[in-house]
C-alpha cells in the first residue's frame, strides 16, 4: 500500500464519519423532512433513536468490511490477473450484503426493536410510522452510504495489483 493510499484511506474514513453523523442528518432535517415525517412522527426523535442508530450500525459494518477488504488485499499473493480479478465478485458480495444489512438495520430500529423489547417510540405507537416515500429515501441513503463508506475507500486504497479491481476503478483510476 502506497503512502498516498494511506492518506486517502484515512481521509475517506474521516469523511464517512462526518457524513453519517452530521451531514446526513442535516440533509434529512432540511431537505427530506417532508417525505420522512408521517402522521404522529417526530422527526427529531426518529433521527435520534431510529435512523441514526441504524446508520451508525451500517457505518460500523462498512468500516469492518473495509478493514477486512484491506487486510485481504494486503495479505493476498495473487499470481495472475485472473487471480486478482477473483476478488471482484467478493467485493460485489460484500457490497450487496452491506446494502441489505443497512436496510435490515433501518427496519430493526424503526419497527422491530420496539416490538421485541415491548417498548414504544412514542405515545400510542409500537413503531415509527415512516411513510412510504420516507422508506424509499432511507433505503436510497443506505445505498449511498455503502458507496461512500465502502466503495470510495476501497476504490482509493486497494493496494498493489488490486488497485483497479474495485468496480469503476479502471475508468476512474486507469490513467493514473
Amino acid at each position: 500500500m502506497r503512502g498516498h493510499q494511506f492518506i486517502l484511506l484515512a481521509a475517506s474514513v474521516a469523511l464517512g464519519i462526518i457524513w453519517v453523523y452530521i451531514i446526513q442528518n442535516w440533509i434529512f432535517l432540511n431537505l427530506f423532512a417532508g417525505l420522512l415525517v408521517g402522521p404522529g412522527l417526530n422527526l427529531n426523535d426518529y433521527l435520534q433513536t431510529g435512523s441514526s442508530p441504524a446508520f451508525t450500525v451500517l457505518w460500523a459494518g462498512c468500516f469492518s468490511a473495509l478493514l477486512i477488504w484491506i487486510a485481504q488485499t494486503l495479505s493476498g499473493k495473487p499470481r495472475s490477473s485472473k487471480e486478482t480479478r477473483q476478488m471482484q465478485p467478493m467485493w460485489w458480495i460484500a457490497a450487496v450484503i452491506l446494502t441489505i444489512f443497512g436496510w435490515l438495520c433501518l427496519a430493526w430500529f424503526t419497527v422491530f426493536v420496539w416490538s421485541v423489547t415491548g417498548t414504544s417510540p412514542a405515545a400510542g405507537m409500537n413503531s415509527y410510522p415512516v411513510p412510504a416515500g420516507g422508506w424509499i429515501v432511507l433505503m436510497g441513503f443506505v445505498v449511498l452510504d455503502v458507496m461512500l463508506l465502502f466503495w470510495v475507500p476501497t476504490l482509493l486504497a486497494s493496494p498493489r495489483t488490486y488497485r483497479l479491481v474495485v468496480p469503476g476503478a479502471v475508468t476512474l483510476l486507469g490513467s493514473r
Binding site: 499473493k77 499470481r79 495472475s80 490477473s81 485472473k82 486478482t84 471482484q88 495489483t161 479502471v170 490513467s175
Partner: protein
C-alpha cells in the same frame, strides 16, 4: 565495440557455443565500457544430424529471432548482437566422400603412390578406413586429423561461410579494438580433438598471411567430464569409448605442450574429475547429451581479459570437492548477477507474465486491466489496435510475434539452465540455481526467491521477491523510467526490475 568470433568444433564445441550464446543473451560478453560485444558463431561438425548441433543452432536461431523481434525497442534486454555464420562440415571439402578410404582414394593411392597406400593401411585399420563419417569422427582423433588436415583455408576463404567469417574478421581487425577468435572443442573425442588444434593452426597461419597479427586466437579445450552409460552393440562399428578418453586427452595435451603455440595464443583447460553420465550414442539425432556446467566454464574463457594474466594455459579449480558455488566461477560477482538475472527473467516471463498476456487474449482489455494495472503502462488500455501514446494493443499480431520470440528463447534458456544445474554426476552438487524451478510451467510462478541460490540471489526479503512485487513496481514507475512500450518494453522493464 569488441568483436568475438567463436567456433565450436564437434558436439562438445557446439554445446559450448550454446552456453556462450546464453551468456551473451545475459549481457555477460560486454566490453570494458559495458557495451555488449558483437558475437559471431560458427559451428564445425561433420555430423550434420547431430542433436547437439541442432540444440546449439536452436539457441542461436531463437536468440537471433528474439533480437530481431525486440529490435530497438529495449534499452537492456536482448541488446547483444549475434551473427550466425552457420554450420560447416569438413567432409564438404572431400567431394562428397563419407569414409576415410573415399577421402584418400585407396585405389588411386595403390597405383600412384604405393608407399603412401601402405602407410595409410598402417595408420588406419580397415574398420576405420571404411567407417561412415556422417556421424562424425567416431571418437578417433587420427581419423579427424586426416580429414581436417586437408582443409585449405585460403581456398575456403573464397566461398561460403568461411568467406563471410574471415571477411568479417578482416574488417573487424581494421576497426578499433582487435577481434578475438575463440575455438571450442573437446580433446578427448574425435572431431574436437582433431579439429580444434588443426583449425587453430590454420587460422593463425591465415592471420599471419593477412598481416593480422593483432587478432588473438585462443581456445577452450574440454578435458573429460562425462562417461557413457551403456555400450555399443556389435553393429555399431568404430565408435567413441570412454575408456579411450584419457588416452586421447594425454595425446592431445602432449601435442599442445610441444606445438600448442603454433595453434593458439592461449588455452583454457577445463574438465571434471566427477563425471556426468550420458547414454551411449554413436552420434546423429540420438546424441542428446544434456548441457553441463563444464561447458559454461569453457564459455567463460571468452571473458577472460587478455591483459589480466600472462601465460599460455589457464586452468580452474573449485574450493569444495563435492560442490560448486558462485565463488568458484571466475569473475563470480558479475557472472552471478548476469546468470541470476537471466534465470529469474526466464522464470518470471515464461511462467507468469506470458501466461497473463495469454489470458488478456481471452477477456476484454478493461477486465484484464482490473487485475493487471501494470499492463496499461505498456499496452493501450482500451485495447485499440491503433497506437496512441506509443502504446500498442495487447492483441496486435506484431506484439504477439514478439511474445512468441521471447517465450521460445526463454524455453531454451530454461532448458539449458535446468540441465547445467541438474546434470552433475554422482556425489556432486551445485549451489547456484534451483533446477526444479527452471522448467516451463503452466502454473503461474510467483515466488522468485528460490530460483537462484547462494550469494547471487538478490538481497531482498523472500516475501517481497515475487513477480507480483515486480508488477507493482512497474505500475508505480514514473513515465520517464519507461522508455519503450509494447511487449519489448514490458520485457525490458522486467529485465531491469528482476535483478
Amino acid at each position: 565495440m569488441k568483436q568475438i568470433f567463436a567456433i565450436g568444433v564437434g558436439g562438445t564445441g557446439a554445446k559450448c557455443i550454446e552456453a556462450l550464446v546464453h551468456l551473451h543473451a545475459c549481457g555477460l560478453l560486454a566490453g570494458d565500457d559495458g557495451t555488449p560485444s558483437r558475437l559471431g558463431v560458427f559451428l564445425v561438425e561433420p555430423d550434420q544430424q547431430s542433436a547437439l548441433l541442432t540444440r546449439a543452432q536452436t539457441a542461436i536461431n531463437r536468440y537471433g529471432a528474439l533480437k530481431v523481434a525486440v529490435g530497438r525497442n529495449s534499452d537492456n534486454f536482448a541488446r547483444a548482437e549475434l551473427r550466425d555464420y552457420g554450420q560447416w562440415s569438413p567432409l564438404t571439402t572431400s567431394s562428397g566422400a563419407l569414409s576415410l578410404d573415399q577421402v584418400f582414394p585407396k585405389a588411386v593411392l595403390r597405383t600412384q603412390a604405393t608407399g603412401v597406400a601402405a602407410l595409410f593401411d598402417c595408420l588406419f585399420p580397415p574398420e576405420e578406413q571404411q567407417a561412415d563419417l556422417e556421424v562424425g569422427f567416431r571418437g578417433r582423433p587420427p581419423i579427424g586429423s586426416a580429414v581436417m588436415s586437408r582443409i585449405n583455408l585460403q581456398k575456403e576463404a573464397q566461398v561460403g561461410q568461411w568467406q563471410q567469417m574471415l571477411s568479417d574478421i578482416q574488417t573487424a581487425a581494421g576497426s578499433g579494438e582487435p577481434p578475438l577468435i575463440h575455438l571450442f572443442g573437446s580433446v578427448f573425442g574425435g572431431t574436437g580433438a582433431s579439429g580444434v588444434p588443426t583449425l587453430g593452426q590454420l587460422l593463425k597461419n591465415w592471420l599471419k598471411s593477412q598481416s593480422l597479427s593483432s587478432v588473438q586466437v585462443q581456445a577452450s579445450l574440454l578435458l573429460p567430464y562425462f562417461d557413457f552409460e551403456g555400450v555399443a552393440d556389435d553393429d555399431t562399428g568404430v565408435h567413441a569409448e570412454s575408456r579411450n578418453f584419457q588416452l586421447n586427452t594425454d595425446a592431445a595435451l602432449q601435442y599442445l605442450r610441444t606445438s600448442g603455440k603454433a595453434c593458439f595464443d592461449r588455452v583454457f583447460l577445463v574438465g571434471s574429475d566427477i563425471k556426468a553420465r550420458f547414454g551411449f550414442s554413436i552420434g546423429g539425432t540420438s546424441q542428446i547429451n544434456a548441457a553441463h556446467l563444464v561447458e559454461l566454464l569453457a564459455a567463460l574463457g571468452v571473458r577472460h581479459p587478455l591483459t589480466s594474466t600472462t601465460g599460455y594455459a589457464h586452468v580452474l579449480s573449485r574450493s569444495d570437492h563435492t560442490c560448486i558455488r558462485w565463488d568458484d566461477l571466475p569473475d563470480d560477482e558479475r557472472i552471478g548477477e548476469g546468470l541470476a538475472r537471466g534465470a529469474r527473467f526466464a522464470v518470471a516471463w515464461r511462467n507468469n507474465v506470458s501466461h497473463d498476456i495469454a489470458d488478456a487474449q481471452k477477456v476484454p482489455m478493461r477486465t484484464f486491466l482490473s487485475g493487471a494495472p501494470w499492463a496499461r503502462r505498456f499496452f493501450h488500455p482500451a485495447g485499440a489496435s491503433a497506437s496512441r501514446g506509443g502504446r500498442p494493443a495487447i492483441r496486435d499480431r506484431e506484439q504477439l510475434t514478439v511474445q512468441t520470440a521471447i517465450d521460445q528463447y526463454c524455453d531454451t534458456l530454461l532448458q539449458w539452465l535446468n540441465q547445467i544445474s541438474s546434470n552433475l554426476g554422482s556425489g556432486f552438487k551445485q549451489e547456484l540455481l534451483s533446477s526444479q524451478l527452471l522448467v516451463p510451467s503452466d502454473r503461474f510462478e510467483n515466488n522468485l526467491s528460490r530460483v537462484v541460490m547462494g550469494k547471487a540471489r538478490p538481497r531482498r526479503p523472500a516475501k517481497n521477491d515475487t513477480v507480483e512485487a515486480i508488477k507493482v513496481k512497474m505500475d508505480a514507475l514514473s513515465s520517464e523510467r519507461i522508455n519503450h512500450r509494447g511487449m519489448a518494453g514490458l520485457a525490458d522493464c522486467l529485465w531491469n526490475l528482476v535483478a
